[in-house]
Amino acid sequence: MDLSRRDFLKVGSAAVGTLLLPATLAGAASPSAFPLHKRVGETATICPYCSVGCGVIVATDSTGHILNVEGDPDNLHNRGTLDSKPLAIPQLANSPNRLQKVLYRAPNSDHWEEKDWDWAVSEISKRVKATRDATFKEQEGGVTVNRTESIAWLGGAANNNEDCYLATKFARALGIAYLEHQARI
């Protein structure tokens, strides 16, 4: 499959039949005066922006750092093409502004504090239990409603189906009524 993709890349956007590289170039056995600026990449994934579902091919270094992205010529939606947003993916993945640690802002504080995961998970679960227990509505007019209106959930249309499914299951198990996300707005 990699081989075929490689071959496909060579003809670029050919799939839609617009244009083909001149045969003299496509042969490409002769050594080039201009070596490729970087690797094109062969790992296929999907663009995280709009809902078209375009395929993206990514090249990474050994540490998982993204070097190059371009359209996946095999993906039926985009056939190798991409607009400006997915082409900026290296800056999404490699951004110095990406969060790297758990941050906590205490009540009335004016700054973030770095924390670890264990602390955060433990503290959050305590908040959830306290809030749920204090406000839970088990019955309403004789009907079991098992609902909490004091915890809300927002997001996430940019998450995978599996994230979303677990989020729904998580929220409904707690009895969360205010469950909303981007689809409403």
Partner: protein, 265 residues
């Protein structure tokens, strides 16, 4: 004339600016700081960090408004003034005819910047005092193309407004497209680059006059580059030749006349 060409069909361009970012992405060109000043067009100009960009122009004729988008970058002229003035050979017409740039060879003289009738190349100045600088411009992804790939901008173009291939094929696609557009009532549809400056390696299908896009109606090879070529260079050779000849004759004559320094007389 180049044997391959890139075709920019502005009638299909949706200004998604994939080309602009694809170029930066492939070549790892930094973003520049820009400001919203009442335009979609940012960066406002080409620069050492921006080799290809999309321009936005509004044009109204016959009651019909057009929002014109133009992918702008090196035109890869056949009569390329930049190649003619480049003293290092960094800029050259390569085998396929487009204007390649070998940044290793570039010595930063900046002649190309000033000679280009489209104001395309830009000088990346590292140190003004030492003159350390490199010219930069679209090379039509010379590395990708010579390795059998299409240029990054062409590959990424969603509506196929950018195409790439044999120049004759591109021209016939362009002409056919113009015919179609005219049949659809786009009276001002035309090609651009067929013959300009001996034929451009970046061909256009336009739906409005070139000036509406900010392109010169008839780009001209710079007169001063011509002058340089037709005057300064030949004059140098001729002068040096004549002088050498004259001096040689003189020397022979002095030998025959057995001339010597006054001292020895």
């Amino acid at each position: 004339m180049s044997s391959i060409a890139m075709l920019v069909d502005t009638s299909k361009c949706t200004a998604c600016r994939g080309c602009q970012i694809a170029c930066k992405q492939w070549w790892d060109l930094a973003a520049t700081r820009t400001k919203q000043t009442g335009s979609y067009e940012n960066p406002r100009d080409l620069s050492p960090e921006t080799w290809s960009r999309v321009t936005f122009n509004e044009y109204e004729a016959g009651g019909k408004l057009q929002w014109l988008f133009l992918n702008l970058g090196c035109m890869h002229c056949t009569q390329a003034a930049c190649v003619d003035v480049c003293p290092t050979g960094a800029l050259q017409h390569n085998d396929t005819g487009f204007v390649s740039l070998d940044r290793e060879q570039c010595n930063g003289c900046g002649y190309c910047v000033e000679a280009c009738p489209f104001r395309i190349p830009r000088l990346d100045v590292v140190n003004t005092l030492t003159g350390e600088a490199k010219a930069s411009k679209c090379t039509l992804c010379q590395d990708r193309v010579t390795n059998g790939l299409t240029p990054a901008c062409v590959k990424t173009c969603p509506p196929g407004a950018l195409q790439f291939g044999d120049r004759t094929a591109m021209l016939s696609v362009a002409r056919k497209r113009v015919d179609t557009l005219k049949a659809q009532g786009v009276a001002q549809a035309r090609t651009y680059g067929e013959t300009e400056l001996g034929g451009l390696g970046r061909l256009y299908v336009l739906t409005a006059p070139p000036t509406a896009y900010g392109l010169p109606e008839a780009p001209e090879y710079p007169a001063l580059v011509n002058l340089w070529h037709n005057l300064a260079q030949p004059l140098g050779y001729a002068g040096a030749g004549l002088m050498t000849a004259g001096l040689a004759v003189n020397w022979l004559l002095t030998r025959r006349a057995r001339l010597s320094n006054v001292e020895e007389k």
